[in-house]
Subunit: 237 residues, 2 copies
Amino acid sequence: MKKTSTQPLHLRILNDVQNNILSGKWQPGFNIPFETEMAAQYNCSRMTVNKALTQLTKSGLLERRRKSGTFVKRPQSLSAALEITTIQSEVEKLNRRYSYRLMSDQLRAIETIDQIYLDIADGKNIRDINCLHFADEQPFCFEQRLINIDAVPDINNVKFNDEAPGAWLLKKVPWSRANHQIFAVAATDSVAQNLNINNGDPCLVIERTTQNNAEKITWAKLSYSGAMHNLQATFTP
Amino acid sequence: MKKTSTQPLHLRILNDVQNNILSGKWQPGFNIPFETEMAAQYNCSRMTVNKALTQLTKSGLLERRRKSGTFVKRPQSLSAALEITTIQSEVEKLNRRYSYRLMSDQLRAIETIDQIYLDIADGKNIRDINCLHFADEQPFCFEQRLINIDAVPDINNVKFNDEAPGAWLLKKVPWSRANHQIFAVAATDSVAQNLNINNGDPCLVIERTTQNNAEKITWAKLSYSGAMHNLQATFTP
DNA sequence: AAGTGGTCTAGACCACGGG
DNA sequence: CCGTGGTCTAGACCACTTT
């Protein structure tokens, strides 16, 4: 079928599939229609569908197996480019023992200050969590996290006593964009206390907002002792 | 033509073109053969060539204009993902006046310590440069840079009195990989002096090694005052 | 053996933009 | 205008994997 709008058909197909995934309609693991079926549905040739699905596979949203079909991929790393996954995998990559402690966890009404990070309407509730990550029993990272509970179904039943919220979210929630700000700051009282370093020592701070197509999902502030941590990233053009 | 090796033909074409660019055989601005010519050369259909060239365009190595043809793109940003380009553009994005001062510039034999950053054979020479970037006449970034002069033809004729080495290299040299390490450190004497901050103040330090397919091109250590700077990055899966 | 994606063809028409 | 890339087709055969 010849295209009728201004947008190429293969891009329309790509966007349709992407929206089905990011909206949660097609959950991770879902077996999406075969190329031939979608070609019939869009009244186009299989090549056109293939172009869209091949691109989404390269982007990491789909996984394809001959004979079996095409599946929505489980969300994994924060892109191959910036090798931040979970703090646990960071620690284990350093050959150190990982442990975790939940410091506080409350469901509370949103305040004006939160809306800087998560633009949510007044009156909504958010999950406000503080926790600590350890490497060999030494404080490694202090995490402050806000979660938009409307963007994450099921979260009300989840306790973060044993698993960090970042790790759980990474398994559970597909996202389309992550924005980072990275700072070097002098440790404030509370951070110094939690990381067991001196007040004023340099800290590497990462603030990350993660969103899907529709809304912001979560905001996290990760504070590392400067002496213990550096961030690595590899890019290709 | 049916493929004869194990590698798909469109990937072979993609790699051939990429190698021509990264090896320097096809310089930035070079008008590469038309799709029809390459199809004839590889004895395949135009669609197959198109698949390879479309991918390279998405990767940012090529630029295509109807009627004119396909050109090797001038190396630009450090990928759209991590928005580091030149320090000048960083400063100007903050609406501040940029200026630059060369502190030292010497051509010297490589030492053992350098080989950690640029793995070059003994006896070779490198360019060793220190310079300062200013925002509104205030020190903004202290840059220490080593350049593998064998990887950069023409560099011997270039003075960096008015243009920073990073800016010049970005215009001049195609690269295939950039590796970053990001630290938060306490300012050492020399850095504190150059950035006009107090000894021990937190600094954001970025160490970047840039390479092409064959060899490492340059290493840079960029030190920013923590109070003045933060790094931003946006990722999509 | 059969079903699915991976690749490729030999055309076609259109959109854009330089001359 | 006309040359170039952008898109699309209606097939085809092959490669891989599950049954």
